[in-house]
């Protein structure tokens, strides 16, 4: 009895060793792998895409650390197989950081290509998706000497640091999916542009379904972020008529207004904000958008008399009015372009019982939605000066 269980133990140990030490499982040696860090997709012709990949190498002997390969195919997997034929290392998608779609593709719809990433278990969920202003391959093919690092890493850092500074809405694969598959929200992705040997973010693309429908310039992005996220840092410059503020402008003993600007610019910096979108009238689809924020005044182009409470209230009121106007304009712009990056549809569906709504039904209703915008801004601090 005792002897038999000893034999069993030995058999288990031996077979475990044999099986667990890789017979049957593929080995992946780091030096022999080419890690794809970025992929760019362009539309070649109908039914054919051109994919360009940046491959990072680990081979210490190699001088060039990145390889760029381009191939044409119909599906992502064939593309990878085609590309595999053009390199001495085995291509792996596990370290993919950034995917770029050309504007042309985005206008036709990208979900067919994004789904390929969703199905593949080797692709992470935190890959950044972006749109190229022109063609995607030119971004991947950027001269690496100028940017000093692998293009995939560069793009990853470019987007990540801006997301962390709260200047950009996080464009990960997960967030794209979430917003795309939600019936009451549309995705937003950043647009990349090559500017003098550097890649920069030139704006954001707004999607209707999976098609690029409109773009938003960087300065409007503040309001979109204000509406969608809990905002912590981020600043916005507001433009005012100088005449309106003439009462509180401190001319500092009769010195001139300054001639560089003939308008008054205020720059405010959000400390925290909280946005509530409420459905107030179900029948007429009327939403109340309430933005509460604490901010600090960072910059004024004229000295203002900030010591007095009344003046501060006046500025707050002016800022509120200006922001309300801008937000309302932005919401109407979204409505006109039939995009819903804020997720107003989700808010609507959350309060209407009955059968779940399809995206199409919501977009029909969305056309007639009305918005009341209310901004409550408290200027909590004014920097080191009064």
């Amino acid at each position: 009895m005792q002897k038999r269980s000893k034999w069993l133990k030995i058999a288990i140990v031996i077979s475990s060793f044999c099986i667990l030490t890789s017979c049957g499982v593929e080995t992946k040696q780091l030096e022999r792998l080419g890690l794809i860090t970025a992929i760019g997709f362009d539309l070649k012709k109908e039914n054919e895409i051109n994919g360009t990949v940046a491959v990072s190498k680990f081979d210490p002997m190699a001088k060039v650390m990145t390889n760029v390969i381009s191939a044409n195919a119909n599906t992502l997997q064939t593309l990878r197989a085609e590309e595999n034929l053009a390199i001495d290392q085995r291509l792996e998608m596990g370290q993919l950081r950034c995917v770029i779609y050309s504007k042309e593709l985005a206008e036709k719809g990208i979900i067919q290509l994004v789904n390929a990433l969703n199905r593949d278990p080797t692709v992470g969920n935190m890959v950044y998706l972006t749109i190229a202003e022109e063609d995607a391959s030119s971004i991947i093919k950027m001269d690496e000497k100028k940017i000093k690092v692998n293009i995939g890493t560069y793009l990853y850092n470019l987007i990540r640091q801006n997301v962390e500074r709260e200047l950009l809405i996080s464009p990960t694969l997960h967030e794209f999916n979430h917003k795309f598959f939600d019936n009451g929200q549309d995705p937003v992705l950043p647009i990349l542009q090559v500017k003098k040997d550097k890649v920069a973010i030139s704006g954001v693309a707004l999607f209707n379904d999976d098609k690029l429908a409109a773009r938003l310039s960087n300065d409007k992005l503040f309001y979109l972020k204000l509406l969608t996220d809990e905002y912590r840092t981020g600043s916005k410059e507001l433009e005012f008529d100088r005449e309106e503020f003439s009462n509180i402008i401190n001319t500092q003993g009769g010195k001139s207004f300054g001639e560089v600007y003939n308008k008054l610019f205020l720059s405010i910096d959000t400390l925290r904000s909280n946005t509530k979108i409420k459905l107030v009238d179900k029948k007429n689809i009327r939403f109340k958008v309430e933005v509460k924020m604490d901010s600090r005044l960072l910059e004024t182009t004229n000295y203002l008399e900030l010591g007095k409470t009344a003046n501060m209230k006046f500025i707050e009121k002016k800022v509120n009015q200006e922001m309300e106007k801008q937000i309302k304009k932005l919401l109407l712009f979204f409505q006109e372009k039939k995009v819903d990056p804020v997720g107003i549809g989700n808010e609507y569906m959350a309060h209407v019982r009955g059968k779940p709504m399809t995206q199409k039904e919501w977009k029909e209703l969305y056309k007639n939605a009305k918005f009341d915008v209310q901004v409550k801004n408290t200027i909590a601090r004014t920097g080191t000066m009064d």
């Binding site: 969703n118 935190m126 929200q185 569906m349």
Partner: protein
């Protein structure tokens, strides 16, 4: 065959271990796909369905434990023989044994499928199944106390995964939960029924019961174990609904594992690999208990040694792994076993408990008559 089972003092386990037993056997491969399965039926109120299922399980457990308390120290095999007589009882025992073997098989196959999809696409099924079955046989050879130990370490070793589940929450959109109770009662109940595969495992109490030292305390710990499972299941479902858009949750086969994809540690880019590997620790006690209970049945029915039962069941299961090749076959057979489980673990024990109560009541009355005469 004796109705009551009186194991040696040294084989008994403490009643509080029932918490680990019930919890670890309930949590298994089912959990990985649970949110989606329920969501397909009960939509964004799926979490209510899951909670409801937990409540129902708790009621079924009351019946089970009360039924067991009618006997001195019996397991289901003994009760069958006592209630239905030798031939009918033994046939029912045999059917229950087959049910447990098939559950064992389903757990094994589902886990292997997860490993093949997520980590090793080219790994042949038989290799992993051989290793897993051998480990399980090894544990079952050690007897009930070793298996309970496996259950204990499985719970302790994997409970931290629940904390990791909170990471996806920050990407969530809570408007998905509203309006609450938007589906009708029928859908909620149907949703609760679809949790069967995940909730299964608590029926093991009917086989472990003779080994519990303080039997009067068993109800408490069984209920706590089930409550803990219910909370974890509800939480996982809730987070999945908040995290995924509705259309993508309907398409994701293992939402809980997919959620782990979002977790990113500085030196570990892909957390789901860790989660899938740890999942083996989660399913290990399930497989051990099912194999143990099935092989126990073998020895109880035929009066042979339990160890030969272990080998026979293991070999049959191993042979069966060669029959399944694809995802859709897997789906069909999982559905069949889930349905079986619904009848075997939820409906049948309640029915049996009723029969036992009536029988015992008649017997007591008969005894009283005999005394008075």
């Amino acid at each position: 065959m004796k109705v009551n089972l009186h194991p040696k003092e040294g084989l008994l386990i403490n009643a509080f271990m029932l918490f680990f037993i019930i919890h670890s056997v309930q949590v298994g491969v089912g959990l990985a796909g649970l949110p989606r399965v329920v969501y397909l039926v009960a939509k964004h109120d799926a979490w209510i369905s899951v909670f409801l299922a937990g409540m129902i399980t708790s009621i079924v457990l009351i019946f089970m434990v009360q039924m067991l308390k009618q006997y001195d120290s019996a397991d289901l095999y003994g009760i069958h023989v006592d209630v239905f007589g030798k031939w009918a009882g033994q046939s029912l025992n045999f059917i229950y044994m087959i049910y447990m073997t098939s559950t064992f098989f389903i757990i094994l196959m589902n886990y292997i499928e997860i490993v093949q999809v997520w980590i090793f696409p080219t790994l042949p099924t038989w290799q992993l199944s051989l290793v897993l079955i051998l480990i399980v046989i090894y544990a079952v050879y050690g007897g009930i106390r070793v298996i309970v130990g496996v259950a204990f370490f499985s719970v302790i070793g994997t409970v931290w995964l629940v904390i990791v589940l909170f990471v996806p929450l920050q990407f969530g959109d809570f408007t998905h939960l509203l309006p609450i109770l938007n589906v009708n009662a029928k859908q909620l109940v149907m949703g609760a029924q679809s949790t069967t595969l995940s909730m299964l495992g608590f029926e093991i109490i009917m086989f472990v019961y003779p080994f519990v030292k303080e039997k009067h305390k068993s109800m408490l710990f069984v209920q706590i174990g089930n409550l803990f499972t219910t909370i974890i299941f509800t939480l996982a479902t809730l987070i999945s609904i908040v995290f995924f858009a509705s259309n993508s949750l309907e398409k994701t086969i293992w939402p809980v594992l997919s959620m782990f994809k979002i977790v990113r540690l500085p030196n570990l880019e892909r957390f789901e690999f860790i989660a899938v590997s740890f999942w083996m620790l989660i399913i290990l006690p399930n497989m051990c208990f099912y194999l143990w209970a099935a092989s126990k049945g073998f020895s109880r029915i035929l009066g042979k040694r339990q160890k030969s039962g272990v080998w026979i069941i293991a070999i049959v299961t191993f042979a069966a792994t060669f029959l399944i090749k694809s995802r859709y076959q897997m789906n069909t057979i999982t559905d069949v076993v889930a349905k079986l489980g619904f009848y075997f673990a939820f409906c049948y024990p309640v029915l049996l408990a009723m029969i036992v109560f009536i029988k015992k009541w008649f017997k007591r009355r008969g005894d009283k008559h005999a005394e008075t005469q």
